[in-house]
């Protein structure tokens, strides 16, 4: 085992990781920064984000309006201090990215253009056509290239966090190209490894989103917060699960059932208008829209295709010009992957797993309960997304909290002692484990692909859009069984050179841990809130202060604890969408909280 030393180690090279890396380099150019990622940075899943990133820039908008949309969208499970901080720092972060070259779409006068998004009171989403994540990631990646203190370890797969005496001092990683095992020692470690949508069979997430970061931190003793909240995006293409961005609806697309009826009006989401209305109908929040699909399915009003039931997203009335200008990628994806042209045909869509609101528990600086371990991005849960993330908050989140985690990690690294050499013993142990457990392990009988499929199907059945106690219980038992069967996994590849079978096995191990935390957290939460809908507990439970769940790894089933939600100015209220908005009745126009529940809330 070889050892490399750095001051700050970033695990994951997506949007959050790269933003954090720059933050460290700018906070303290003396610090050496390592970015270790299992893929080249520009392959990270940030690249797939389409619609945009939210930040207040228009004069008629306000920080409070952004905060309120976020908090109500999150069904009052957001930590409001985190949200307030988030909306406050969002604009500056977005401007910074503009200065770094992100090609934001513009208005004719040269200022940044915005578009509306689901669950928003006003246009707040900055966009770069409908390849926002792609442009943000490449702008960030290319900008990191100008900072000499940033070293990259591309295609290094981290298999273990090195934690001693409650302090994180680095990680163990396999260099995929050579199979060499390395210890990367650092005074601060920032986890930015993204979510784990691949625990589900049908997801917009890339193949690489196997919850590695969540599982690593979980096994190292950090709690995973609010894991039961998994966002289904209402519009994914059948079969591939490719995302059709919310921007398609924001620009005026309609969702219709097989009778051509705009069915959202039957689900308390407002009345259909020809033009898009903010916080109404197609611009409602993602959880409610996805749940409405299930309603249509039950009523038999969805269309049946070879790849399951779908509804249709109709953008034909927007015309080719608008489609090519505002949502060109939607057209490209439909033509390529569905062989249909949205200019002339309706797009078949269904809900698809998209984002994990939960993640490693952190404070406002991205610090986890383990000293020296920070987290940011989808892998983390700083609690701005609550029970349902507002569309276009995640790209902004990775900037704001990537930057904060980077700055905090830099401060920590300046004071923290150098990693103890004794931690290397753990590294050697891990190297031996990899060798014995995977490379030397022959004669297993379980095909990995089959285990993964069973896991994914279990998650869809047990922890899908609607859940109840019996299926969740069955799910936890099934995952326990799969974990045992994983020990008998069939491995054929003894090679050390780019052994993707080894990688797949390590990823499957991570998927199982993440799935376990989701199921147990969901089983323990006996209420319905946002993305977590329990048919046996259909109401939101506001008798006590809302609470975050915290899942801790144990040798057996995870232990679930609770942590009260921080509420500053917006007490829990009913979520209402689809009421016509008038400027005079805006409850968050001022800083006073809506006392009477408002005419909307």
């Amino acid at each position: 085992m070889r050892t490399v030393n750095h001051d700050v180690l970033l695990i994951g090279g997506g949007g959050a990781g790269l933003r954090a890396a720059i933050a460290v380099a700018e906070a303290n150019p003396e610090l050496s920064v390592a970015v270790a990622s299992k893929v080249y940075p520009m392959r990270s899943h940030t690249v797939s984000a389409e619609g945009g990133a939210a930040a207040v820039i228009r004069p008629e908008d306000s920080l409070d309006a952004h905060a309120y949309d976020t908090i109500s969208g999150g069904d009052w499970l957001c930590d409001q201090d985190a949200v307030e901080l988030f909306v406050r720092e969002a604009t500056e972060e977005m401007l910074r990215l503009e200065h770094w070259g992100c090609p934001w779409s513009r208005k004719p006068d040269g200022t940044v253009a915005t578009r509306p998004f689901g669950g928003m009171k006003t246009e707040r989403t900055w966009f770069a056509a409908d390849k926002t994540g792609f442009h943000m990631l490449h702008a960030l990646f290319q900008t990191t290239l100008k900072y000499p203190p940033i070293s990259r370890y591309d295609e290094w797969f981290v298999t273990k966090l090195l934690v001693e005496d409650g302090r994180c001092e680095g990680a163990v990683a396999v260099e995929l190209a050579t199979g060499e095992v390395h210890a990367i020692l650092a005074r601060s470690v920032i986890m930015c490894a993204g979510g784990g949508g691949k625990i589900y069979p049908f997801t917009t997430n890339a193949n690489i989103k196997t919850g590695d970061g969540m599982a690593l931190a979980y096994r190292a003793g950090a709690p995973l917060k609010d894991m039961e909240f998994v966002q289904y995006h209402p519009t994914g293409l059948p079969f591939t699960g490719i995302l059709i961005t919310e921007a398609a609806r924001a620009e005026g697309g309609w969702l219709v059932n097989k009778e051509g009826y705009r069915y959202l009006q039957d689900y308390n989401l407002g009345t259909p208008e020809p033009r898009p209305v903010l916080r109404s109908m197609e611009l409602g929040p993602r959880d409610r829209l996805s749940q409405a699909f299930v309603g249509e399915l039950k009523k038999g009003r969805t269309a049946e295709t070879r790849h399951g039931h779908v509804v249709h997203l109709d953008v034909r009335h927007l015309g080719q010009r608008t489609i090519d200008e505002k949502i060109p990628f939607v057209r490209e994806l439909c033509m390529k992957y569905e062989k249909i042209d949205p200019v002339k045909e309706m797009i078949p869509v269904r809900p698809v797993v998209h984002y994990m609101m939960g993640g490693i528990h952190t404070d406002l600086d991205g610090a986890t309960p383990i000293a020296g371990l920070f987290a940011a991005g989808e892998v983390a849960c700083v609690s701005i997304n609550g029970a349902n993330r507002l569309g276009s908050n995640s790209l902004t989140e990775l900037l704001v909290f990537g930057a904060r985690a980077g700055a905090a990690a830099a401060r920590h690294a300046a004071d923290a002692p150098a990693p103890s050499q004794s931690v290397l013993a753990q590294g050697l142990e891990e190297e031996a484990r990899l060798q014995e457990r995977f490379l030397d392990n022959r004669g297993g009988r379980e095909r990995m692909a089959n285990l993964r499929k069973e896991l994914q199907d279990t998650m869809e059945t047990s922890a899908g859009l609607y859940r109840d106690e019996p299926t969740l219980k069955a799910g936890t038992e099934k995952v326990q069984e799969l974990k045992e069967r994983f020990h008998d996994v069939a491995l054929e590849d003894p090679s050390l050179t780019f052994n993707t079978e080894l990688q797949t096995a390590l990823e499957l191990e991570n998927l199982l841990d993440v799935a376990e935390s989701v199921l147990h957290s969901a089983l323990a939460r006996r209420e319905s809130r946002g993305a977590h809908q329990r048919t046996d507990f259909p109401e939101r439970d506001d008798r006590e202060q809302p609470a975050h769940s915290l899942a801790y790894a144990t040798t057996g089933a995870p232990r679930i604890d609770y942590l009260p939600v921080t509420i500053t100015r917006w007490p829990p209220a009913e979520r209402v969408y689809g009421e016509p908005l008038s400027p005079t009745s805006d409850p968050v126009g001022g800083s006073a909280p809506p006392e009477d529940g408002g005419n909307q809330e």
Binding site: M42, R43, S48, H99, F134, L145, A206, K336, F498
Partner: protein, 246 residues
């Protein structure tokens, strides 16, 4: 169910001196991409097959391979479109092969950094003063070149890069051009110093295949020729009008 023969290049450096082909009979459906067929092989037949893939929606740039001699994104190429088969799948041409379908693209990563693909300013505008103004027309000037996903198909299509790995190559030059043409950037001169060296743009002979295979219509060949034209104008200006700075 229909099936197709897929010949996959295999190379295991520890045990083999030369690559060879394995042939798999893969059942497929109408809407399968080449990547689905390769995933089927890995999941159900031979778990030792190594290759990269991630987003399977044509934007992460991981899954480029040679299919029947042409560089393509395997997640965006239908099996149906390369029938009747056998379908030959090889690693991208022009790069060293690490293992099976995995190539070593470190060379590109180094070259990318060399062309300084970031905004260079003589003076930063303070954030408090807001964004740099950029009209939609100014955005349009460089937008095409900003679409590069670094998938390396253009390098695989470029015979010059294959012949002379020193050549800085299509995507890196297109990305330099992306920043040169950005109204917010002032680094054109610095980049010209890099690109006007002998392994820079002048090695390109405008075969043009890079632009043909580009899945994002970036047109690196055009970018390079525009660069040559700019460099030439620069040169004549510096000779004929040495007092004038561009």
């Amino acid at each position: 169910m229909k099936s197709v023969a897929v010949e996959v290049l295999r190379y295991r450096p520890e045990t083999e001196a030369e690559p060879s082909f394995d042939v798999f009979d893969v059942p497929y459906e109408d809407n399968w991409m080449i990547l689905d067929a390769i995933n089927h092989i890995k999941d159900q037949v031979d778990g030792t097959l190594s290759y990269r893939w991630a987003c399977r929606m044509g934007v992460c740039g991981s899954c480029g391979m040679m299919v029947n001699g042409k560089p393509v994104l395997t997640c965006a190429t239908y099996v149906e479109d390369v029938l009747p088969g056998p379908v030959r799948v090889e690693p991208l041409r022009g790069f060293p092969v690490v293992r099976d379908l995995v190539t070593d693209i470190q060379d590109f990563m180094v070259k990318l950094q060399r062309v300084k693909p970031w905004i260079i300013r003589e003076e930063e505008k303070p954030l408090a003063e807001g964004e740099y103004l950029q009209t939609p027309e100014e955005l349009e000037d460089y937008k095409q070149y900003s679409m590069c996903i670094n998938c390396m198909l253009c390098y695989a299509a470029c015979p010059i890069y294959e012949l002379d790995p020193e050549f800085i190559g299509p995507a890196a030059i297109a990305l330099a051009q992306r920043y040169n043409l950005d109204s917010r950037d002032q680094g054109r001169e610095e980049r010209m110093d890099v690109l006007s060296q002998h392994d820079g743009m002048w090695g390109c002979t405008f075969v043009g295949d890079c632009s043909v295979v580009c899945p994002k219509k970036v047109d690196p060949a055009g970018a390079i020729q525009r660069y040559k034209l700019d460099a030439t104008v620069d040169w004549f200006q510096s000779v004929l009008m040495p007092w004038r700075k561009r």
